[in-house]
Amino acid sequence: MKKLLNVINNRISYNLDLNRFLIVGNAFNKRSIFLYRSTDKTPFLVVKIPENKQSAARCQAEYEALVSLSEFNIDGIESAKPAGIFEYENKLLYLQTTVISTPFLSIINPIKKRFNHRQFNLLTSALVNIYNSTKLKQKVLNKSYSLCFQHGDYWIGNLGLLNNNICLYDLEFSTNTGFPLYDLLHMGLYLGVVIENVGRLGTDVKSEKYNKSTDTRKFEISNALITRTFFDNSNLAKTMRICINTYLSKTGINNNDGIQLAKSYFIDDRQLEDLDFNWVNILKLSGNNNN
């Protein structure tokens, strides 16, 4: 690996400290190496190294998204800057700068389940800004919205806060021709998943005894989870419905289209079947929305 680090150091114009590095991997057959400049306490550069074709496609998509975001220059949005792609031993390496922010997983406390509307407002406003800055000129036929930049995995684990700006991380599922509202629904849905998984891991995760098959964390999306996240009278569901209404009103998307988008997010994008909801209730701000 020393050879690789030397190659990177020779290719870029920064003076890297090669005695410090953090390797994070091997999720989805992709490895990330965080590197430091001699003068910095936090990493300055990330090198992403895909190990197969699928992960190479994801790295490529993320790199293109970073290029797009730099070009869009969206108000209130921060992201890493693309720093080059180069070949090393028949593999493409993707370089990007790091942005250190306060992770939203620390800001929104899934353990206490008390949600501060200001935090959700920030996350919703960021998505409104993204829509307004990246929407295509032409609207979708017979609809009140256009296609726009979609992060694709907009959940609090991939978001940070830096000087009141939202930092976007892990853009490998993003697209410039995505659907509006999907990211907001994704954020709510996976906050529901995070809440489901509070307190499920013991110290065994650090030992050799850890067995994935006995891991009690739940990642599957159920009718009950969607109800708790969007439709019932829980704090989270009420907050999410306020966010959805705010998003639709600030982007000028009409309610009918909003309801259709919500339905298609769960059914087409998440590929969930047997959903039985009165979808109109996803916009209802008061009263009991149980189906």
Partner: protein, 171 residues
């Protein structure tokens, strides 16, 4: 005792960082015998380099800490082990800390790289502590507290890889 030693298939990250060399797996606790480790290392005829995959337990580390405080040298800490190996004529090429454990080294950084450890704990582990149960969360907070007051502590490292090379005279 010899059962504690076994040749492991190195996992991907390990191979990536240190290279594809035979891995010798052992526990660095009070039952550890340097001579048995050396026998294992010398039995590797394929390469002059070997990777030591070292598992440390917390009680032994406290024991080493107490000995160090009393200025008594011990082979049971990583420094003690490295020194013993150097005395036996080996070069220590690199020492890497792995998380969460030796068989799944998803996060790796150099032993003396406190910036990476701080980044890993603050930016990656700390935000994800919600999934830990109450006991693990308390333990984790104690660990964070200790790291805050002593930035250079390595008391809680439990999975270490050491790349060693036999000196020509040794071979």
């Amino acid at each position: 005792m010899i059962k504690a030693f076994s040749i492991l298939q190195p996992n991907d990250n390990l191979k990536f960082i240190l290279g594809d060399y035979p891995v010798i797996n052992f526990n660095l606790d009070r039952s550890f015998r340097l001579s048995e480790l050396l026998n294992e290392v010398y039995s590797n005829k394929k390469s002059s380099k070997s990777i030591l995959s070292v598992k440390l337990n917390l009680i032994t580390q406290f024991y080493v800490l107490v000995l160090n405080t009393l200025s008594i040298k011990s082979r049971l800490g990583i420094h003690g082990l490295e020194q013993s190996l150097i005395n036996e004529g080996f070069n220590i090429k690199q020492t890497i800390v792995a998380y969460p454990n030796l068989s799944s080294a998803r996060f790796c950084f150099p032993y003396h790289d406190y910036s990476s450890r701080s980044f890993l704990f603050k930016e990656i582990f700390l935000p994800r502590q919600y999934s830990l149960n109450f006991f693990s969360r308390v333990l984790f907070k104690v660990l964070i507290f200790i790291i805050k007051i002593n930035k250079k502590t390595n008391l809680f490292y439990q999975s270490i890889f050491i790349l060693i090379e036999k000196n020509e005279e040794t071979t």
